[in-house]
Symmetry: C2
Subunit: 186 residues, 2 copies
DNA sequence: TCCGTTGGCTAATGTGCGTAGCTTACACGC
DNA sequence: GCGTGTAAGCTACGCACATTAGCCAACGGA
């Protein structure tokens, strides 16, 4: 009985691969165990169960997106930075459509996910700084950016757009319109 | 052995009630059967199985929303009509948050759902008529409306907004910004 | 009243989650 | 090199759910 040498992160990695290949609905402990070359109950040595595994996957995905955010915002500011963030969001979802469906929509309500969610938030807040928005204005602006990014991404990743052509143009228009609606900044 | 007097529509109705009360993840044949006062296998006399039941629920929800659309657009035109449609969308989702999660995002790709999806589309196309958009402009505009409505609704119904106050204002701003971005019409 | 159809049932199978309890590989101390 | 404790694997089991098979009774029309 040689050991497989698993770890929590290895199990999460296998779960992400299962999702990428077969969709989020195919994430079962049986599938993950098979991919790890292990019997299903053995996974309980590394994760608390299916629910916890899904939470871990959520954390992983949130952090991956936060990494992309940080990279996209680096060296940019103002409208340029916001545009780069919005395109980084979409690029991640296009690269990993199934994985996006595993990203929790309300991370701040879950203690384990909150840290990863706040990482994303901070990058956006920094990018908005040049506008010197009042707190309420900042809340509305972040919400509107999120509505557009999430709305577009969830529709695109779920195949919700009938005609695939010109999606870039639609997304560009959405971003441009939102930026135009912000007050001018120096 | 008295009969329960079920029908396909009665089973779908029970499924919608289960979703409303316990969330879309709780939609199981066992739960629907219990609500109907029937053993689970008996449901197969009325629906083909869980997958088909979910499709039927999707059709029901799509049509309910299309009904709201038709009612909201009646007697209005132009920006007034678009605004009414957007608020009808959100009002439906606020009234039935769990049900919204059962609404398929890509109805046009499924023959059984397409008719209900097209009903919605036609109401929006009619409301946009005063702008006399060229076909590409119409596609982009409908997509943008959908991104905003679906993005906002899915975040709101999933508890994705941290602060509940002022959500009306955020949504109003999104609609107003989009309408402002359209060319003026006579 | 008779009989075919139809809507209900029980029984059984397969899959998946999760628990209990056993065994053994491996790292560490001597 | 040799115990030995821990932890990583295992099998066996119970439960929930979807689905199929096959039985039986209720209902409605001739």
């Amino acid at each position: 009985m040689p050991r497989a040498g698993l770890s929590t992160q290895a199990v999460v990695q296998a779960a992400v691969e299962v999702i990428d290949e077969h969709g989020v609905a195919a994430l079962t402990l049986a599938a993950v165990a098979a991919r790890c070359g292990v019997a299903a109950p053995s996974l309980y040595k590394h994760v608390g169960g299916l629910a916890e595994l899904k939470t871990q996957v959520g954390i992983r995905v949130l952090n991956e997106l936060a990494d992309r955010f940080a990279a996209a915002a680096m060296g940019r500011s103002g409208a340029d930075a916001i545009t780069a963030l919005m395109h980084a969001y979409r690029a991640y979802v296009v690269a990993h459509p199934a994985r996006y469906a595993a990203m929790p929509v309300d991370p701040l309500h879950h203690p384990e996910l909150a840290a990863a969610g706040i990482r994303q938030l901070e990058v956006i807040q920094a990018a908005l700084r040049p506008w010197r928005l009042d707190p309420a204005g900042q809340v509305h602006t972040i919400r509107k950016l999120r509505v557009i990014a999430h709305g577009f991404a969830s529709l695109e990743s779920a195949g919700g757009f009938g005609l695939p052509e010109d999606l870039d143009e639609t997304y560009r228009q959405l971003i441009a319109t939102l930026l135009d609606s912000l007050p001018a900044h120096p």
